[in-house]
Amino acid sequence: MAKTILKAENLKKHYYIEQGIVDKILRRDKKKVRAVDGVNFDIERNKSMAVVGESGCGKTTLGKVVMRILEPTGGKMIMDGTDIADIGGGDELKAYRRKTQMIYQDPFSSIDPRFTVFDALEEPLLIHNSGKDIEDRKKMIKEALKDVKLTPPEKFIDRYPHMLSGGQKQRVSVARALMLDPSFIVADEPTSMLDVSVRAEILNLLKDLMNEHDLSFLYITHDISTSRFFSDYIAVMYLGKFVEKGKVGTVLDDPLHPYSKALLKAVPEPKPELVNEFKELPLKGEVPDATNLPSGCRFHPRCPYSEEICEEKKPQLREVDNREVACHIC
């Protein structure tokens, strides 16, 4: 039985929208966006879970809540017996941040242009008082650069970001995430800004590091085909909720939820024989207004299979065919 490294229960994050003066005087209720609305998951040791969905489905918010960059509105996140959602700021949070790190989407802006590679990688060590002296830290930084295959490290350690290519920059951000020897990493679209062949390079690297350093990943992406390669589990998110969750192969090869079906169908595949065909997506209309969610199943206005019950009752995730699906019909 694999060890669970992070367990999230009913995790929520709601944003309130600022009201205008008229709404304030009339004491209208504040509108809220349920960016993450009751999400449950377990991430096992040395496994990766992908979260996929369209923009605005709440996947980035979920990543930020897990990192505690954002305060969750409700729910629990349990790591090593402590509820991370409940801890205050200060030392407890600092200890948590030591164990979890984040890799951002855009290596061009996530590294300070005035920091050399050394400065960028030294910063987390300084904040967490790691390393005895500068020589010791330099040694650790060189090790990390070797880990991300920026070799020889002497060649890269004094460079500024503008002297690096996109792929090299993303390697530096991976190295930075590894500096404190974390056990869990949130990777938010780590390859979406990169070229195909560089993308393959970074994904290979992340997968190797995952095994070498015994890491667990929450992999947030809209590029679903990469999740097949990089992840063990996948969760499809729609308007703040998981609609389908399971082993990556099971879900991708035979999606059950109507939304997962439509989403996967939309993913382009190398099939030149389709050039003469229209791709008909089993999907109507556009993503609804996030402040005014549809009743019942949030997907029902767009769902081609929707019935009366979908409008009235919220579907819960239930076990169907070796995965969990939130749908009344399938």
Partner: protein, 342 residues
């Protein structure tokens, strides 16, 4: 997979778009574009020749910096200084675009003969004017059509891209990304061009919207017989919309031909590697293929075949001699060993 059940086959509906006339709409010969920078001359586009037939869709793919966007800019004669077309010609409807000056290109070519949708095109809509105001601008400039008449024409095109005509009076911020992109496509078609160039038309859009836009472009191609050039680094998209493919490397054509052939049996080592580096949705792989090294500096491109320093099959001849594009297995390939490698 349920794909084949619900995707409609156009052939069976009698909508066969490629069996139309096979006349050539656009002919590009020896096109060479350089950027004259302080570091030296950048060979961004080197001796590129191809033809585009009526109603055909050509996909141009390659890594960043391979010259795909420079090709698009060259085709509409809009290479920004310090860049310049140094050689070659671009024939469309009896006009050599490369020899025209800015004024002539604007009057004769852009929007009338060749329209273009650039990367992030939906962001070019100004927030301060209505969609209609911006959309009718080419009509006003090129045809002197204004007011109600312009509105009528625009509405017709808005409908053809599945948008409600009421969008004409709306402002860009009221529209979603997909809607804005469709407005741009409608505008690009207003003057009835022969060729539409789309440079990364869906990069900033979600997969679902992307699939809708691609469907729309297929539909327009079928209805109007317009030829299209798609430029993107996403080979998967190209496979679904283009029947011809042009793989570029370091400013040169590496392989060009029917996309069916190229996808199923690539002949150039670069194409082979590029295709293998794409993660697969329905196949488990242990490791993704990658191309070692980085694209070359185009100020001093490698001698001989520009791909030789990164090529696993490279031999002495690759270093010495520039490979010619030659016919191999029904497509043209620029590799000394094309057809011999397995």
């Amino acid at each position: 997979m349920a794909r084949s059940e619900s995707t409609r086959d156009l052939e069976s509906e009698g909508l066969d778009f490629w069996n139309g006339s096979k006349e050539t709409v656009l002919r590009v010969e020896n096109l060479t574009t350089h950027y004259f920078t302080r570091k030296g001359e950048v060979n961004a586009l080197d001796d590129v020749s191809f033809e585009l037939k009526k109603g055909e869709a050509l996909g141009v793919a390659g890594e960043s910096g391979c010259g795909k966007s420079t090709l698009a800019f060259s085709l509409i004669n809009q290479v920004q200084p310090p860049g310049r077309i140094v050689d070659g010609n671009i024939q469309i409807d009896g006009i050599d675009v490369a020899s025209l000056d800015e004024e002539q290109t604007r009057n004769q070519v852009r929007w009338k003969k060749i329209s273009y949708i650039f990367q992030g095109a939906m962001d070019i809509l100004t927030p301060v004017y209505t969609v209609g105001h911006q959309m009718s601008e080419p009509l006003k400039y090129h045809r002197g059509v204004e007011g109600e008449e312009a509105r009528e024409i625009c509405n017709e095109y808005l409908e053809s891209v599945n948008l409600d005509p009421s969008i004409y009076d709306r402002y860009p911020h009221e529209l979603s990304g997909g809607q804005k992109q469709r407005v741009i496509i409608a505008t690009a078609l207003l003057l009835g061009p022969d060729v539409l160039i789309a440079d990364e038309p869906t990069t900033s859009l979600d997969v679902v919207v992307e699939a809708q836009i691609m469907n729309l472009l297929k539909k327009l191609r079928k209805e109007t017989g317009i030829s299209m050039i798609f430029i993107t680094h996403d080979l998967n998209i190209l496979s679904e919309v283009c029947e011809k493919l042009n793989i570029m490397y370091a400013g040169k054509i590496a392989e060009i031909g029917e996309s069916k052939n190229i996808f199923n049996d690539p002949k150039h080592p670069y194409t082979e590697k590029l295709l293998a580096s794409i993660p697969k949705l329905h196949k488990d792989v242990e490791k993704l293929e990658r191309i070692p090294g980085a694209p070359p500096d185009l100020v001093n491109p490698p001698s001989g075949c520009r791909f030789h320093p990164r090529c696993p099959y490279s031999e002495n001849i690759c270093e010495d001699k520039v490979p010619e594009l030659r016919e191999v297995a029904g497509r043209r390939v620029a590799c000394h060993f094309a057809g011999e490698l397995t």
